[in-house]
């Protein structure tokens, strides 16, 4: 799992929870909420979908790590790698 692959997985989730948004030009270093119509319930959706689709838990204290695509990849990629190693 590369960070780019991780970003793609996060974007796939966002595409489902925010289907009206154009995701073709999401800037990885800018907060998602500053460029997309996402509210706190949507971020809970991202957390839920990471849990459902990938078995990844994001504790509440770490929610801020999902602020941008870059920070998401930074935080989630090791988790994906760790999970893959267990399988």
């Amino acid at each position: 799992m590369t960070k780019d692959e991780c970003k793609k997985l996060v974007l796939d989730i966002i595409a489902d929870i925010a289907p009206d948004e154009d995701l073709s030009n999401v800037k990885p270093d800018v907060r998602l909420r500053d460029q997309l119509q996402l509210d706190s319930m949507d971020f809970l959706d991202i957390v839920m979908e990471l849990r459902k689709r990938h078995g990844i838990e994001v504790p509440e204290k770490d929610y801020m790590q999902l602020a941008s695509l870059d920070s998401s990849a930074e935080y989630l990629t090791p988790k994906f790698i760790e999970l893959a190693a267990k399988r």
């Binding site: 929870i17 925010a18 289907p19 009206d20 119509q37 319930m41 809970l44 959706d45 839920m48 849990r51 459902k52």
Partner: protein, 412 residues
Amino acid sequence: MKQTRIVITGVGLTAPNGNSLAEFRANLLAGVAGVERIEIRYMGQQLAGVCHYDPLRYQKKKEVRVGTRAGSISIYCAREALADSRVAWDSVPKDRVGIYIGCTEHGNVETENEIYNISKFNYDTKFWSHYHNPRTVANNPAGEASLNLGVTGPAYTIGAACAAGNLGLIHATQMLRLGEVDFAICGGVSESIHTFGIFAGFKSQNALATHDDPKKASRPFDKARNGIVISEGGALYTLERLEDAQARGAKIYAEIAGYHVNSDASDYVLPNPTRQTECIRAALKRAGLAPHDIHLVNTHATATPLGDIQECEGIRAVFGEGCPDTYVNNTKSFIGHAMGAAGALELAGNLPSFGDLTVHPTINVDDLDPQCALPGLVLNTPRKVGKVDTILNNSFGMLGINSTLIVKRFIP
């Protein structure tokens, strides 16, 4: 006591056989039913009335995903009603608008979906959606409409089983007369075909219709009727005080003439013709009308063996004699039982009779049950009549709630 006159100025609806009043009415006159087979979780193929409106006409994809079907139907119907009313919506003070939506039930669909969802995760509740509560609160359908429309006045649902659609209109009438609001969006909605529990419940009660041909499955008054076809749908109206409607030059469909709501206090599910008769008589009294003044009676009959007979007993008691100009019909024969939407949808289907002087028929009556024979019952083909100045709409529900709403031709 002289009461403030309340008029209907807009209609928005989605029914299993039409997504506008014009389409719905045309199909009611052409004998086009709207029942089909759909897959119901745990139960396989079942008969149902399904609406085919376009949710994305008035909602974003995300709103559809986050919200409920009942919310979506409410938004569609409310927007359609507003458009039909031609009110200058942008200049209407939104804190003076009320939204009153009747529901048979709400939350079953969403709760069943979540339980099914966590069943895929070994019933671990950490997979339970954070949207569960906003989706299942009883005011959800009205709340979603208020969000979509920016209405900041009172917006809530009225739980009244299958009498609820009528109660939406009745409550709005009361609130307008009290001066609580200046403009009302009201009626009823149903998303009930998305919950297996309703189907399973009626099946266990031996009250779920079966038929080889879906379009012939809903057959009130026919000897071979064998139960209810469950449907979704909605009909919302704009209601205004007459002087407000006239001041803006609104088209007026009808005037609220009278209404009544009462309770059987006799059984959980069995209807009570004595109380139904009392309800009809009280509505007539409030309207200042005699039975022979009513030209069209739209029945509640759902095609259960006993319920139809009991309602006919009640109608016969009131309109049996001396009512040569009273005609009787049933809309569920086309669309099944749209639950909380039923009363509101069925009224809508008959409103155009003021203009075309035609009573839409009760279809699927191949062999009339003699116990359901009523003078003036219009069977299988529309009937052109001499006069339609009044429509009486019955809707009854479980736990013995009865409602009768009478509307009349608007005469300034």
